[in-house]
């Protein structure tokens, strides 16, 4: 049987399938439930400095086949409660703790608290608005300078591996990738949701309670693959530092995992697919991946990593 295991900074996993941030992973119970599945690792719901309630509903809908819209509003128990969870619980799978804040100082505050509580690695959710007056129009992840400020501040504050989660809603994602890696990120997670809106013509208003929303699910997989490919190519050419990429976006089958890996991803995260299969999806996808690799003679993940990039080398 092919070897599905991967070893990345802070993430030694028996397979490359991780729970994506924002899905189920906000409480000890929920995380333990995922840990008991066949997932290789888990990313928590994004944890902020203080507890946050959910946005008014509808918070998550499947607008049409494979098109998932959500605006949860970063609900989370807050750094203090989550620090308690981390100190009290043992998880059988590696855990990336996703954190967010409105400015570099808030990221540092959350990272320090959770680092003290035993977090082994962090994912920085950079898709949140600035809290500082006058800069709300853009999210942190849309400005290379803000990314640099946040990542380098957290880098200075904690020793744990850092993964920067990038938004696809920018012009050239290699610019944001470069900023994160040069500021000391150990790896990249991409993509976050694609910004979206859907209107119900009968009601004459947006269908999501928060009005604006993020698009996920299989509909965005080709977009995510493109972003992963652009960054991986840029790394190959030496334009930006090399680092592991966690591919995210609409992964629903074992073949989807192979696609991301062939474009350069080291591991993947799975979120929306749980809508259709819950945590059993991890088993289903890993079996499919294993069968595919077996059938095609790939002995391990690294033997297929980046092979689809070869055909893109000549692109300028």
């Amino acid at each position: 049987m092919p070897d599905l295991s991967v070893g990345l900074p802070g993430l030694v996993m028996h397979n490359p399938l991780m729970l994506a941030s924002g899905v189920q992973g906000g409480s000890a119970r929920a995380l333990q439930r995922v840990a008991a599945s066949d997932a290789g690792g888990m990313v928590t719901k994004s944890i902020g400095p203080v507890p946050r309630e959910m946005y008014p509903g509808p918070v998550c809908v499947e607008a049409m086949d494979s098109v998932v819209l959500n605006a949860m509003g970063l609900p989370n128990p807050g750094a203090d409660v989550f620090a308690e969870i981390l100190s009290n619980e043992n998880f059988s799978k590696p855990l990336l703790v996703s954190i967010f804040g409105g400015c570099a100082e808030e990221y540092v505050e959350v990272a320090k608290k959770l680092d003290d509580a035993g977090a082994s690695a962090f994912e920085l959710n950079l898709s949140c608005p600035h809290s500082k007056p006058g800069s709300r129009a853009l999210i942190i992840g849309q400005q290379a300078k803000s990314i640099h400020d946040v990542v380098s501040a957290v880098r200075d504050a904690v020793d744990a591996p850092l993964y920067a989660k990038l938004t696809p809603n920018t012009t050239d994602i290699t610019i944001e990738a470069k900023a994160a890696l040069e500021a000391g990120a150990d790896g990249l997670s991409l993509i976050n949701t694609v910004s979206a809106i859907e209107v119900d013509p009968y009601a004459g208003r947006p269908v999501i309670g928060n009005l604006l929303c993020g698009l996920s699910g299989p509909a965005i997989r080709p977009i995510a693959q493109r972003k992963v490919a652009e960054i991986a190519l840029s790394m190959r050419r030496g334009e930006i530092p090399s680092a592991p990429i966690l591919g995210i976006g609409g992964i629903n089958t074992g073949l989807d995992v192979a696609r991301f890996v062939m474009l350069g991803a080291s591991a993947v995260q799975i979120g929306s697919a749980l809508i259709w299969g819950d945590v059993e999806k991890f088993k289903e996808i890993s079996v499919e991946l294993s069968e595919f690799m077996d059938l095609n003679g790939y002995r391990d993940i690294s033997s297929m990593q980046g092979i689809a990039l070869d055909s893109l080398e000549g692109l300028s």
Binding site: Q24, P58, C60, P75, Y202, V207, G209, L211
Partner: protein, 332 residues
Amino acid sequence: MSLRAPPHNRLPLDMSRLSDACSLRLALSFEPRKLISAPIPLPLVEVQFEAEGIATLWVQVPNSMATQYRPGQYFMCWNPYDSTGGMSRPHFHSEKPYSVGDIRVGHSHAHQLVEAETGRQGRDFLGFTIKDLGRQSGELTRLSVGDWLAIRGPFGTAFPQMNAGERLVLVSGGIGSTPMHMAAREARHRLGDDVRIEAIMGFRNAEESHYVSRMESICDSLRITTDDGSLGTQGFPTALLPELLGNYHDGRTVLLTCGPEPMMLPVLQMAVDSAIKCYAAMERYLPCSMAVCGLCMVGDRLICKDGPVMDGDWLLQQDDFGSSHGHWAAVG
């Protein structure tokens, strides 16, 4: 940011045509997977007063949906134009789960023509009976005919189907009456006189009692309790349950319950002690319905997907069953 209802400088609406169009939209969306996964607004065709603070909202749905809904399952219900425009926060959840309380099957002449032309069937109605328990449910109970109610679903598990010769015991507390009514209705519809249905309905007082006549017309026996004794026996449903369960140890009795967890816990315990199969329809803070947010857990299961109908024996083994929670501190 505020949100307003569509402008009223439009032509007068033909409610019946609008309702048919929305029902057709519902049918097309429902067909492929037997599930509406994004909210579809429907005009209310009737609002029925049930009791103080309790109203039944009727919407037209395609026959395929009315017939495939199984008692116990829930719909997410949303008023797109609640007074806050859906934008008030925190602690306001403008979309919440409700079970269907009643179903009407209608066959108007106009719809038969539509059926003949489109090949689509049925003009049926779902009734959501809602009790004013807070801002969201309160606003829903104050809606009028023609207001929008957006629904998606049906989600979740259903009560097991009864077999001929079995006895069904239903125990409800408050608005938990609605899935109990649908369970009774389905059993009677499928099995006729080959099933014995006995129900206990608990209310706070006579003023909030509802669904009594609906249940009376279906059940072989109906007992009512009120906390203050203003109707039926004074006390909780558990006071009358031992007497009801006492005579039956034949393995052919099934107990279903829906109500506050502190009521369901002793009810299920009594059933399990009498070796009677039992199931509860659970309700908790349930914001997404899609196994995404992970906040509706009891034990290691999600109420939105593994529930709301859950095995009583299993529930009794969960340390977090019996007292509601729904906040981060408690979930952690």
